[in-house]
Symmetry: none
Subunit: 351 residues, 2 copies
C-alpha cells in the first residue's frame, strides 16, 4: 500500500527499481508492497532479491513507446491517490492516451456482457449524464454494458482498464472502441506488454476499475456474475455501490436486486448518483450523505473500508490494520450516531 | 379508535346504536370515534345527537340479508384487531362471504390498473405463494394487479375491499371475479348498501386494504399513483411495505423504485416477504426462468437481446442480424409460450 508522502517526482533510480521489482516472477502487488515495506525501498529490494534486469524493462518500455504508451509507476505524481490507497494497488500500470483523466473525479459502470438492449441504452444514458456532470467513466471494455458506457462517455472522458497487456485487442468486437479510447480517452493495463488476457486476469482488472472510482454503478448483474463480485470488492474497497434495479422475473437482475436488498444505493437516474457526491443536480433529490472528515484516526480508517454493503468485522480489522478493540470502539461510536447497521454473521454496514 | 376491552359479545342495543351512529350524515369514522369517546357509548351518543332511525338500519340489514350479506360492527368478536387499532377504523363494514378469513394472517397486494402482463403474472405467482404460506391475500378488486392477485389467491383465501356498497359491481370487467370472491372468499364494503363507488371512496377503501394486512406488497406503482399513496398510508399505519423493483426506464416503476430508495423492502420472490414474518421458507424460490439453450438459432439470438423492458422489433431485427421474418416467427413462438408481451409502437418484452 502506498501511503506516501512520496516526493512529487519519484527518484528515477527508485522508479526503475520499482519497475524491475514489479516485473519479476512471483512478485504480485501484495508481495511488491511487502518487499517495499521490508526493504524500505525498491532499490534495496532489488539489491537483495532475484529480480529481472534493467534490459528487460528497457525492452518493454521501447515496445510501449512504439505503441504511444508509457509506464505509470506507483509513486509517480500522476498515479491516482484513490488507487494508491488500496492494499493491492498495482505497482505498475501501462497507459496509452490522456493521463490527465486520472486527475478527475471518476465513477465506474459495470454490468452484463449479455446485457439487454434496454440495459445498454440505460448504461449509455447514465454514462453521458455522468460525463455531463464532469465525472470520468471507468470500465473494463467488455461487451455489453461496459462498451455502451465507454462509448457514450468518449466525448466527456473515459478510461478502459484492460485485463491483458495494453497492446492486446480484446474482445475483438470492441477493437474500434479500444482504438477510439486510446485516441480520445485512456487505456490502462496492469499486465506487461504482450500478455494475453487470461481468465484469472479479469478479477484483478476489476479491482482497478473500482479502485480508480469513487463509486461503482452496476447494471444487470445476474446471480454469481462477475459484476456482482466487482460490486462486493468495490464495497470492501470503501467505494459506493450504486445499482440499477430490474424485474425479479428477469434473471439478469437477480444479483442487482440482491445488492439493493443488502444496502446498495438504488439508481433511477444520474441524479441518484450525483447527489451522493454533493454536486448540484439538474433535478432536486433528497439523498444526502454526511461528509466524512478523513483524518488519520481509526474512525477514518474504518470509514474508508466500510460502505453500504455489509462487511465482516474480522475483515475490517484486517484491512484497517488497527486493533480489533479500536475497530469495535469505532463501530460502537458509529452505531450510537445511527450511522451503522449490524447484520448477521458479525457484519456491519454504513447507513 | 376501538381500544377495547369490549365484551366478547357486543351488547345488542349498543351494536344497533353504533350502526345508527355510523350511518348518520356527516358522521365519518373519526367523528364516530370522537362521539364514542365523548358520550362513553353509542347508545348515549344516539340519545344526544340527531341520528338515523332504527328503521333505516333495519331496511339496510334486510337488503344486505337478501344479498347473503350482513354487518360487521366495530366491537364484534369477528372484527379484526389490526383494523380496529387504526384511529380511523371503519365503525361498520358490510360483508358477504367467509368471515373466518378475517381471523387469519393477511398481506395486501396492490398495484397498477394498467399493469404489464409481466406484472400481473408476478402478482399471481406471489399471491399463490403467499396463499401457500397460509396468508390471506387482501386487495381492492381493481383491474390489473389487484385482480391478478385475487384470482390466484381464490383457492387459498382472498378478501376484496370495495369502494362502493357491497352490492355494487365495480369495475364491470371484474364482475365474475367479484362473484367468485363472494362465493369462495370475502367481500367487504364500508359504504352503505347501494352506494355507487365515487372517486373519493377509493383512498378510504385503501386504508382498509392495508389496515387488514400485516404488510402491503406494491407491484408497478408509477409516480403519483394510487398504489404509491396506499404504500405511504400503510407505512403510517405501521404496516411493512414490500416493493417489487423494476427497470427505471419503465415509468410504471418510478413510484416503486422511489419507495425502495426510501427504505421499503425489495421483493424478489415470496420468500423475501415470508422471511420477514419469521415463517419457514416453505416456498422454493418462486420465480424461475427456463434455462435458455443458447445455441445459434434465431430464438437464441432474439432472447439474447430481449429483456423485461420493451424493445422495438425493428431494433431486434437489426441487432440479431437475422431476417425480419425469423424474428417475427420467434416472437410468435415466445408469445404462444406466454413468455412475450407486446407493447405499443411495435415493441416487445420478455415476461
Amino acid at each position: 500500500m502506498f501511503d506516501g508522502p512520496f516526493a512529487p517526482e519519484l527518484d528515477p533510480a527508485e522508479r526503475r527499481a520499482r519497475l524491475r521489482l514489479a516485473r519479476s516472477k512471483r512478485i504480485g502487488p501484495i508481495t511488491f508492497h511487502e518487499a517495499l515495506q521490508h526493504f524500505g525501498s525498491a532499490r534495496t529490494a532489488c539489491a537483495n532479491l532475484s529480480v529481472v534486469g534493467d534490459a528487460e524493462i528497457a525492452r518493454e518500455e521501447e515496445k510501449l513507446a512504439r505503441a504511444d504508451g508509457r509506464f505509470l509507476v506507483l509513486g509517480d505524481a500522476e498515479y491516482p491517490a484513490a488507487l494508491a490507497s488500496l492494499p493491492d494497488a498495482p505497482p505498475v500500470l501501462s497507459l496509452i492516451g490522456d493521463v490527465a483523466l486520472l486527475g478527475r473525479r471518476a465513477l465506474a459502470i459495470v454490468g452484463a456482457r449479455e446485457a439487454s438492449l434496454a440495459g445498454r441504452r440505460f448504461a449509455a444514458q447514465l454514462a453521458a449524464a455522468l460525463g455531463g456532470a464532469r465525472f470520468v467513466v471507468i470500465s473494463g471494455l467488455a461487451r455489453g454494458i461496459d462498451a455502451a458506457a465507454h462509448e457514450a462517455a468518449l466525448p466527456s472522458g473515459t478510461v478502459a482498464v484492460l485485463a491483458g497487456g495494453i497492446d492486446q485487442v480484446y474482445p475483438p468486437q470492441n477493437a474500434a472502441l479500444q482504438q477510439a479510447i486510446a485516441a480520445r480517452g485512456l487505456l490502462l493495463a496492469e499486465a506487461p506488454f504482450g500478455t494475453p488476457p487470461v481468465a484469472r486476469a479479469f478479477p484483478r482488472r476489476n479491482r482497478i476499475v473500482s479502485g480508480l472510482a469513487a463509486g461503482v454503478v452496476v447494471i444487470e448483474a445476474a446471480a454469481r456474475s462477475g459484476s456482482l463480485i466487482t460490486a462486493q470488492r468495490a464495497a470492501e474497497q470503501g467505494r459506493e455501490v450504486f445499482v440499477v434495479p430490474g424485474s425479479p422475473m428477469d434473471p439478469r437482475h437477480a444479483g442487482s436486486n440482491g445488492l439493493i436488498r443488502d444496502g446498495a444505493i438504488l439508481v433511477r437516474d444520474a441524479n441518484d448518483i450525483i447527489s451522493v457526491f454533493g454536486l448540484p443536480q439538474s433535478v432536486p433529490q433528497a439523498v444526502e450523505k454526511p461528509a466524512e472528515k478523513m483524518d488519520d484516526t481509526g474512525t477514518a480508517k474504518v470509514l474508508r473500508w466500510l460502505g453500504a454493503v455489509p462487511t465482516a468485522v474480522d475483515e475490517l480489522v484486517r484491512r484497517c490494520q488497527v486493533s480489533a478493540a479500536t475497530v469495535a470502539e469505532v463501530l460502537l461510536a458509529l452505531e450510537l450516531e445511527g450511522r451503522l447497521e449490524r447484520h448477521r454473521g458479525n457484519r456491519v454496514s454504513l447507513m
